[in-house]
Symmetry: C2
């Protein structure tokens, strides 16, 4: 396989940007920018997230079997970079962002346009990131979109000409 061809073709997959949040129920909160996300079923509503196995988020999700995906809005480019770094919880905020506790316990970023909360139904332990499968059990529409919902999300290609995560 030609490594350059593989990289270029895989980078054709378009991605939105999400803050993956979790509360492990033992006082530990994680929040990390991710982009490897897709829905995979309507009934029940399932989503998949690729999560780095050496991350705090991965361990917390394995422990609590819950997580939230907070959709970033077009105007939240700064937050995508903020949550590339380890989350800091202080004064009722995560890395300076207000949040509320969701029904699964996962933090919901109230300034994000929307979020879904999930219960883990499977983990595929393959690769340097594992595949977390979650059933959507709650949804938060903090800011209803004016047009198509998929026109409201911040996309990877908007982070910079040379910014990719994939390939």
């Amino acid at each position: 396989m030609n490594a350059d061809a593989k990289k270029t073709v895989l980078r054709m997959i378009p991605y939105g940007l999400y803050v993956l949040t979790c509360d492990d129920g033992k006082g530990n909160i994680s929040a990390a920018t991710v982009n490897w996300v897709t829905q995979t079923a309507f009934a029940p509503p399932l989503v998949v997230v690729g999560v780095k196995t050496d991350s705090h988020a991965y361990q917390h999700i394995k422990d609590s079997k819950t997580f939230a995906l907070n959709m970033l809005g077009k105007d939240q480019k700064g937050l995508a970079f903020t949550f590339f770094k380890p989350a800091q919880v202080a004064d009722g905020e995560i890395s300076g962002q207000p949040y509320k506790k969701g029904m699964t316990g996962a933090p919901i970023l109230t300034d994000a346009p929307g979020a879904v909360e999930c219960r883990v139904t499977a983990v595929v332990e393959q690769g340097d990131h594992h595949i977390i499968v979650g059933e959507v059990v709650e949804a938060h529409l903090n800011k209803p979109p004016a047009g198509r919902p998929d026109a409201a999300i911040l996309e990877m290609k908007e982070l910079g000409d040379k910014v990719f995560y994939g390939g």
Copy 2:
């Protein structure tokens, strides 16, 4: 859970469009437009596809444990609709599209800008679509993109104001 909020938030996830192809090794070829796709690992390179369980493609992939994802280009909107319908193989073409046999046996649409071939490493049998996990074993860059690769792919939101598959 509020069903409308769940639908709207899940529809914030942006999607590209792909023709999922498979040759089951017994003379049966399938080709179907799909959009529930994400990479999930770098090493090895893994991708996930949500595939409808009552589709020909699903059965062929379960049998052969191989598939290809053909990325559709910005100018291939017609093909997205063509492959919403069952594939017709005739005169060395699939539904009028030229193709070649890939190393896994899966048909590679030579007019698509790129394709990856995969071997199935896991199937998560949950929901009305199951989660097919594939390791990328071959890549075809038929038309190198001029700019960012993810600016070259046809996106769901370009199919029409009311066209969605998700929510």
